[in-house]
Symmetry: C2
Subunit: 201 residues, 2 copies
């Protein structure tokens, strides 16, 4: 426990931050977003509500950052394998099947709350959707710079829709969470051909 | 009102059926799936619960059929324009933007309920997802038969994921319901190129 250490400092340690995020995700799975309170987070993590509010501003931001923190490789910087196929596969491989299943269940539970809470939607856009979109944009820009994809390919605008859509549709249509094998196969069958990239290289 | 006529018959009239489905969708939007009761449907539609159960078996099937009935063209048979692009565009054009927005809001509200209720999931698969998948399979089979798409194109298995995924991702990423213009552009930029079909014809 780093309780004493963090109490003395204005910023909490990364270990303590990770511990807090884990507790928030546990509570989310147990009671859902609407019933989750800052009081419960404070009690569970033996911290003061004042600290939580000072550090995160509010429930929406705390939850968005907890979900973001849980995503593997979120803070590891971009991938750069030298080919678009390599980059998209590497982004997919950062989450193993177990993590994707947990993520899928969590997002399903949060989908309703997001549409009922403008705060949560804003926090999700800022801390989760926007960083992921930026990562896709980087990967695609490098593919354009290398001459792999034409800058005017109309599918470029839809890469996030293709990827996030596959994730959502898999859960709904096939009644199972997306696996790495499914997403890699989808990238090769759909995303790369739509972008005019050969998948046989 | 066809109250008297339908009371005498074992099967209700199509007009009365449509009226019942409208009432179910109104209730769904008002109170959500979990709080919707067969009692409320019976009261709202001035019918007996016995009739509702005899005709639909239960709440899950009644709701799934009401949503299905609301989808334009659901019972109009398949489209057949002579080209894959024409067929996919025609399927999209069956719902106008206003209907898509209503549909999107309804599905968002039902997403949570579906995952909490195996009955509802089963009814949705049977009455909504399966008929839609069958329609896609018909359209794609004709494209293969015409020689437009190769029978071994790996994207064939993912057409439902591409289409349903675009619908879901649009709502989430762009914070707006999918429009006809968005879906037609997505079909031309993503779905047809992934299937190896030229969009310039």
């Amino acid at each position: 426990m780093t309780e004493i250490a963090t109490a003395r400092r204005s910023r909490i340690t990364p270990e303590r931050e990770a511990e807090l995020y884990r507790a928030v995700l546990d509570l989310l799975r147990e009671v859902g977003y609407d019933a989750l309170t800052m009081d419960a987070v404070a009690t569970r993590t033996r911290s003061s509500k004042a600290t939580l509010y000072r550090q995160w501003g509010g429930k929406a931001e705390l939850v968005a950052k907890a979900v973001r923190h849980d995503k593997p490789g979120a803070s590891a910087g971009g991938v750069d394998t030298g080919s678009l196929r390599g980059d998209l596969h590497a982004l997919t491989m950062r989450s193993d099947d177990c993590e994707m299943e947990q993520n899928s269940a969590l997002m399903r539970g949060l989908a309703m709350a997001i549409h009922g809470s403008p705060d949560l939607l804003k926090a999700f856009k800022e801390h989760l959707i926007e960083p992921e979109m930026a990562e896709f944009r980087n990967v695609l820009q490098r593919a354009i710079d290398r001459g792999e994809v034409r800058a005017d390919n109309p599918a470029l605008d839809y890469v996030p829709h293709m990827m996030i859509g596959a994730f959502a549709a898999r859960t709904m249509l096939d009644e199972q969470p997306p696996t790495q094998a499914f997403l890699l196969s989808y990238i090769d069958a759909v995303v790369l051909p739509a972008l005019g990239v050969s998948t046989t290289t």
